[in-house]
Subunit: 314 residues, 6 copies
């Protein structure tokens, strides 16, 4: 029995070592990134068992992805695609305030995901299926894979978790919104930012947006507000999640860590309050380290959030 | 037709990669720096055409300077001087609060600039001649070059822009002040810090200093106040330039970026208000990236100043 | 008047810092590479004036390419293509004996070159047009660009130089051979390896291959034999070019440096023997430094080839 | 069913980036090393299924070991030992000709291996049990673990493979020899250098040593001769394994790669000749890349050994 | 005549270059650290003459320690211990707020310090003997060395300075407290944090703790309060030391720098107020640079504390 | 009593990390270099006591020099010169076969050495005074310092050792030769290359040159022949020193190491044969590590020269 099954595209991530124009970088750090695999690693560190399904190219970056995910204890089911290369993502911090991302993602292995890659048996043996809106944006076949997987999950009584994760570089809001609406309606748990929620429902603030999303079907809706915390409507009950003050070093991946925290609590049969607290603390912890997922904490490490600055354990 | 012609000494710049004593640095980053070429690059990025004239040694650092400036789209007229090496500048951030600079600049190629290097035709074909007080401090022949160039410009109806740029390591205030006064009187546009203005005129605050400098002749005087913004007197009119809040990573080069922004606006026939706003935004942007000029923005990039922290475009 | 005009695709080049699997690399060095721009830089260093035409993406890698080429003194005419990204090339030295290359080149800006990009006036004002078989392999429009440019050159009495440069990753031999044959027939100067020559003509050894290529039309044919030197047939005369013994550090780019040396001699009106010697020495020099073009010598530096190992000039 | 089961101590490996005294190193590269896990990775790359059992400390180096081995596709059974830290190994290349190794290994987790860690069921489900003399040298309990495992294997009809791997820093020859003799007698396959073989049996050359070891019981004995190749006695038949000429970059780990090659052939039911050839080629390939195991090849990659130097596949 | 004699264990210090898990670090920076040698370097930079006594292993890390301390102008008396390796310390900044330290310190050379290593003549020729509670925690023989040295000092009329420096990783509070009490009673000058003071005496706040410690005998007691400053009782007089506001980059070593400042003032015969001010400024300065001691200032450099942020001296 | 006293100019040494043009280097490694201090370090490592006298600037590079030499156990007597900066040396390996050196040495502190800096008492208390021709080339006052020191040494019965060390970048052969002749005549031990010997005396080969130099007065003359070994005439006896075969990584500093080996043997009262062997082995060892002096061996380490390639001690 797997706690969480997730699937999507994971890319090689290349980033300059310093703030500034990419063209001035002498060298690029090499890593991997992908919203769903970020969640998978976050869950594994918090003690959940998790399987990730995806396609990678028959190339070194593909092997980097499977090597890294396996090293993190994720059960990897990777189709090696001879016809599409592993996608690349270049992340440039142009200035202290703005990060820019460029993709080499067209015709990539990961975007060639199709319903056949996500086997029904894997879905049926999981407690939670976690999907994101990014996969739905990659290609028609990838969108089919998401919708088919969700259908299988519902049929098998497996909880469906959705992180909307809108990417304007992949599709525009008008195309995306109806797909998001369909996915929200078929989900049990939904994570969205205020901006994303506004693409799907109307609402004047985070709480009203959460309630409106909740009205579409999901038993749990969490609307994230960045450094302002989050609000949630779970089983009809409103929740306010206060922010955890930290020195943010890299806010990319915060949402994935948040989702991982929530789902880890759920798989440990914790209360909604405990799930939300774990989500908030995991998300806050993750932004204190550079990288989309590298900073993800174990449960033991979360106590460091309560340390005074620069406290040394020795 | 060139928008801006500038000339001066550009040096190889060596900097440790981390805060602390230079003697503990394992290696030094290699780059270039020079107030006038910083302005030239800033202008080129903002879309202006710009020519830089200077002398470099017949050595790799000299070739680094021409390679870098050409790469940035500056029209380089570099005299290769067989008799003087390219100057070096060592920039050590001794602690989080203080940067120390050491020059290997004596008898350098750049300091051997003379009136013959700055040809009248180049000056006559530009809209603006931009000079700085640093060049006047380098040597007698370099000072002559500045004064002669200014004379040529005035004769040809070319606007003269001056950044006072006092360097106490090169000359003392008593020697410098009369030269500054002469240059201000011959300039159309003057950039100075409050401290520099106080070396030249009397005044109780930035506004009164700007007015006093204005009284010496220039139609536009801008007195810079660092993180407090700037004030200006342009065509007899007072202007207050509010600061742009940013997370400063390296404040060296802010003044050069500011001047580049102002002159770029001028060459695009923008209003004084627009020139000052462009100056302020360019200066603010530049300090968000390490390096004297590496962070200089294009006009398109300036919008990033308005982004929320760590916003990712993807 | 430009000595040499060349055009083609230049890519961002990413390479691990050490021998071994790419997936074990912590970071990748960033540079640029492209057969024709390698030749352009080689020529510029040897004192020739050279123009490079190409398409780059509207991205940082595109700006890196124009920045680097301009910095090297090449006259760059780059079309910024909003619809295709700058291509990437990953170069992994898998082991001490074998280098592997992967391209992210599909639908790239550079591959979208078309006849319209290579203007007749540029061609007519050059002494030599240099093209390579790589460009012909990129796309139909790029192939058209090569053929059209060659036609223009012949019409204008401009010498045509061709480096066959077969890339099996871009097209197969059967498709390529007739194109090569057509290009050879239209060229004045042809560079080919023994393997490439064998794709076009029959011959039992380098000399007979050179003669056979020569029979197709070109007045000068050079068949390169790697560390064994080269043979040439120039104006009906056979030449043997002995190898220059060096410690090779990176043999990629040797052929481009060789071509640059030959064409630089030609543009300086040197004898065939002198052109071949300059080609051989430039090629040998280039492999002593890591990088596709970074090691290219000036004429002054070629004397270092005659130094005893590790001789220090001081 | 696992092809090969192996166990032992794996350490964090710290190495300066350059040749020279460790005290002059600014920083140390971080990796892992261990004879048995090197063999495990080598086998996994060659397509065999392999399980590694070991103890690691409850610390980041312990987690680095499990992360790395899992990333390489090895089935890891690691006991996290709260009472012993993960061992460290410092590898300094003092000069171009000599490498020096220092251990922080006393009381380490890995040296606390005991018979209880190596479960009988794991052994019984493998085709081959591979052990090394290093484990026998670590501690009394680790030696017991080796002897017990060998006994279990023989009882279950599992092949026993032994690499003598004498480490003079861990024990002296006099203490080690009787243990080696006991292990050889209980093994089916034995790998030894000439020096190691001489500690156990008498013999005037590699062949006579192999025959003498063979006389102690093993059906296959391979005596390795470094760059001179190897000799073997398999099922009473003599074999000479010629060396594969390569440019060695780091010879550490060659023996482990050799053993992995041999066992991979065995598990693929190949002939003795094929096993020996695979061993020799795998060992030769591995030394062309820095690192104890990082250069280990897949079967597909072995063809690169036949490439001409610096041949580029593109 | 030496101003200050100190002794203890100095370790090789390995630290990742970035915030995050040690297992994700590609490489580790190499340095040295030890509370007493940190104080020694701090004193040397402030102009005092200082001798450090310790044991190091017969290994490169031991030679790194003596090389570094000698390079800093400390008079090093290091016993090279053939039977114990030099200890290691790994310092991981797990997140922006928390640093974790791991020791490889068991049976180390440094922990084998004994009374015989600290010669009576050295003590008698110093003005101040400085010891720390860490040495007392290392081993029975090291504790004897501390107690014996203190006895010798008192007999010779040499001032005894003690920094309590409790390390919970080395011993527990219950074991340590009586030793601290004995040492405080035998000391003239005592440095302690509030937490440390509370282990030894009762007190409701820093002042009452300082008074209580003072009551045990020392003529000068300083209780440090981190970023809140410090309080002191010197010759029965209360002192409040206000904090110096700085941007802290690495707070480790602040206490050692503080002690060095105080003792440097004392050896220069300055008033208690001046000693405390020098202590506070030296401690504040030290935290602005990464490293346990690398940022320690000279007296001349202290003026930089009064500079405006990023002020450039040129 | 000091074994060897030496003096001269030591510079900060900046070197790119890779072969190739300096202008392509992203960063420069920082170290120190100076012929006489190289010899001093070499001697200290071989167990001799040695004092180095020199002038350094009042800057971080000056402090780097004293820090490094003290760290190596050299007794440093450095005058801090407020009026001259520490000299810089840039060492570029332009290609695998040729190194180029550039100095920033004009008006440097080190070149301002004068007779007053080299005190008679220091000279009188040494067994050997070692000088080099470089110091004589730096300036008139430095030349005076050399001549005066030699005079003092002779008067005090201290042996005079001279390494000719001609630097064509500092003076031409015609100017230098008479100075060398004067110094040789006043020396007891002379080291010279064949080229240097030919500047001073006539001779058809190394042996005849050595004899001719010997005829000028020195009791020991060693003529070095690089990778061909050396010849010597000592007390009228000819000696041939065969070369030690090694893989040279950086041949700069070989001569200094050779001299250190010879003088170390002399100070240990070894025979001429033993002194020459120690010189040859020390010189050979030093070239196996990058750096002018970093590879210098201890006596214990010399045995590594006899190791088989890549032999690992563990």
């Amino acid at each position: 029995m797997t706690d969480v099954l997730t699937f999507g595209e994971t890319m090689a991530l290349l980033t300059p070592h310093q703030v500034g124009l990419l063209r001035h970088a002498d060298s690029l750090a090499v890593g991997i990134a992908g919203a769903e695999s970020n969640v998978a690693i976050g869950l594994a560190r918090l003690g959940a068992s998790v399987r990730w399904i995806g396609r990678v190219g028959d190339d070194e970056f593909g092997r980097l992805i499977t090597m890294t995910l396996r090293g993190e204890g994720v059960d990897v089911r990777a189709v090696v695609d001879p016809d599409g290369p592993t996608a690349l993502m270049l992340k440039e911090q142009r200035m202290s305030r703005a990060t820019r991302v460029v993709y080499y993602r067209a015709h990539s292995a990961g975007s060639r995901l199709s319903p056949a890659d996500v086997d029904e048996a894997s879905i049926a043996s999981a407690r939670v299926l976690h999907v994101s809106g990014i996969t739905a944006a990659l290609s028609a076949s990838a969108r089919d894979a998401v919708l088919t997987a969700v259908t299988h999950a519902r049929a098998a009584g497996v909880l469906v978790s959705l992180d909307v994760n809108h990417r304007s570089a992949l599709w525009d809001a008008a195309t995306a919104a109806p797909v998001y609406r369909e996915l929200v309606a078929a989900s049990d748990i939904v994570f969205a930012t205020e901006a994303e929620a506004s693409m799907i429902v109307d609402g004047s603030d985070a709480v009203s947006l959460a309630r409106a999303l909740s009205g579409l079907g999901p038993s749990a809706v969490i609307v994230k507000r960045g450094s302002l915390g989050a609000v949630a409507v779970i089983d009809g009950q409103d929740h306010v999640v206060p922010p955890i003050p930290v020195t943010a070093i890299d806010s990319v991946g915060a949402g994935d860590a948040f989702a991982a925290g929530y789902l880890a609590g759920l798989c440990a049969d914790e209360s909604p309050e405990a799930c939300l607290a774990l989500a908030a603390r995991t998300g806050a912890f993750a932004v204190t380290v550079r990288g989309d997922w590298e900073g993800a904490p174990t449960r033991d490490e979360l106590v460091l959030l309560d340390a005074a600055p620069d406290e040394v354990a020795r």
